[in-house]
Amino acid sequence: MPILLYAVLCYHSEDVVMSWPAPREAAVMDRLAAVEEKLSKAGRLGPVAKLMPTTAAVTLRKDQDPPLIIDGPFAETKEQLLGFFIIECAGLPEAITAASELARANPGGAYEIRPVAVLRTNKVFQ
């Protein structure tokens, strides 16, 4: 059975997520940790990232030389990319199952399930 990597890209309104009271944030993180642990025990969980607020981002437009550096995220959208999981799956159905479990732990917003073409695991994270 071929093994595929899927990125689960987490989109949600940053405004809404940052208005969560601390106990709610903690409860969501606990529930996510439980799902992550299950995936991790099965040896299927890769890097997991929570991104800093979009206000910390700069965007480098590389369609010109030298590139143009703009403050802020790439796109002004209602929902922002707030983080991602990398999960090993046999195929799309399994990826949807895993993402659905994560979704039950953290409802609201959307997960984009996107197959990963190449993943290099470099040493920085060890």
Partner: protein, 422 residues
């Protein structure tokens, strides 16, 4: 989703944008607030039944606007507008209108809303209270608790502040560049004062008041999202995050201040520090220095230092010198002296602050710093006198207690030799 926590978070996060747009529409704060309240009531009913709309703020603006217009039409016996029942989603004819309502004007709407709270006739504490009530949507009880006053006193304060802005001549045309930057500066000051209101808290109520710091950071980020390229707003947000990152280490179990040199750095919040550092790096790219960026750069050097003694004091001293030029004040010079003492020793620092004695005669911190410098120079008797003056000027029990502990140290170890801790 019918999760009430989701509803609350959606309403809280949509509030500034919705009130700001309604204020532009009705040009009257009371009408804008009433319209928003009405929209929230309808949202509680409608969203739990039909699910949340894709854009909660746009929904609240449209429904709030219709509700207020409807009320005035009923008053004049005219045809009512369609109810919000048909507006379960905005993917219809109303959508272009809402788009026009929010995206084009949102920036200036929100800035105006914050700016309205900063009316020059209002004292700073009232500006802050008003912003917490109107922009953040905190209840009067919550604000009263944060300011340690009774609910009725806070109610009165807010009512008076609202009456003051109701008579103010608000500007509703799109501001020019100069006016916009003036408003930004005024609003940034208000957010900074709000932060300090929480940050300066000590004692057993400090935990409660830290909520003000969180709210200030939320407002700073909100502003930054709209003015992404404003170096000073980036700097302000960085500064607030870097200062707040030390909160858990700044007070001991009794709510007394722990000096930075005695703080347990493992209690510093690394997430906030990292975000603050990322922001200050962004701000410095603009090569457009301002006081918030310089203060954030100083806080960043503290955040990066592995220990108090391994702090980059020469750089901090330089940054205070820059701040002195940008924003001359005896208090900034006093802070520079503290850094200078680490670089060149207590004698140089004492020379720097002696000329401030007149202007800072009634300032607690001046005598605290001077006492420590005299002690480091081995001038114990003068140090003791200066410390006593500091205690007499202390604003809080915590400040007095801190100086008393310095006095105790002085008594048990009366003549330390000078120790430049470079």
């Amino acid at each position: 989703m019918n999760d009430p926590a989701w509803l609350n978070a959606a309403l809280t996060s949509a509030r500034p944008q919705a009130i700001a747009a309604l204020l532009r529409y009705f040009r009257d704060m009371d009408t804008a607030e009433e319209a928003y309240q009405e929209a929230c009531l309808r949202a509680l009913k409608n969203w739990t039944k039909h699910g949340p709309p894709r854009d909660p703020a746009a929904w609240l603006i449209l429904v709030g606007r219709n509700a207020a217009l409807d009320a005035s039409r009923r008053h004049r016996k005219l045809q009512p507008l369609p109810t919000d029942e048909v507006l379960s989603d905005l993917d219809d004819a109303e959508n272009p209108l809402v788009e026009r309502l929010d995206s084009a004007d949102y920036r200036d709407d929100l800035l105006r809303l914050l700016f309205v709270c900063c009316h020059p006739e209002l004292p700073a504490t009232q500006q802050i209270a008003l912003a917490l009530r109107i922009v953040s949507g905190l209840s009067v009880a919550q604000i009263a608790r944060a300011f340690l006053v009774s609910e009725s006193a806070m109610e009165q304060r807010i009512t008076r502040a609202k009456a003051c802005i109701a008579h103010a001549n608000l500007q509703f045309e799109t501001p020019g560049a100069a006016e916009r930057s003036l408003r930004l500066e005024t609003v940034a000051t208000m957010i900074y004062l709000l932060f300090n209101e929480g940050y300066s808290a000590t004692g057993d109520t400090a935990g409660m008041r830290f909520a003000l710091c969180d709210e200030a950071i939320r407002l700073a980020r909100l502003l930054l999202r709209l003015f992404a390229g404003e170096a000073e707003i980036i700097g302000l947000t960085a500064l607030l995050l870097l200062q707040h990152s030390r909160s858990a280490a700044r007070l001991d179990g009794n709510g007394q201040i722990v000096l930075m040199e005695d703080q347990d750095r493992s209690l510093w919040n690394r997430t906030m520090i990292n975000e603050g550092l990322a922001l200050i790096d962004k701000a410095l790219r603009h090569a457009h220095t301002g006081p918030y960026q310089v203060q954030a750069a100083i806080a960043a050097l503290h955040a990066r230092a592995p220990s108090f003694s391994a702090t980059d004091w020469p750089q901090i001293e330089l940054l205070y010198a820059t701040l002195e030029k940008l924003q001359p004040s005896p208090v900034v010079t006093l802070n520079r002296a503290v850094a200078l003492a680490k670089v060149q020793g207590a004698a140089a620092a004492l020379d720097l602050i002696e000329p401030l004695a007149g202007r800072l005669a009634g300032y607690f911190y001046f005598h605290g710093v001077k006492g420590a410098l005299l002690r480091d120079l081995g001038r114990s008797e003068q140090a003791r006198e200066t410390y006593n003056r500091a205690i007499a000027l202390a604003n809080t029990a915590a400040e007095a207690a801190h100086i008393r502990s310095q006095l105790d140290r002085l008594m048990s170890d009366p003549a330390p030799t000078e120790r430049p801790c470079k």
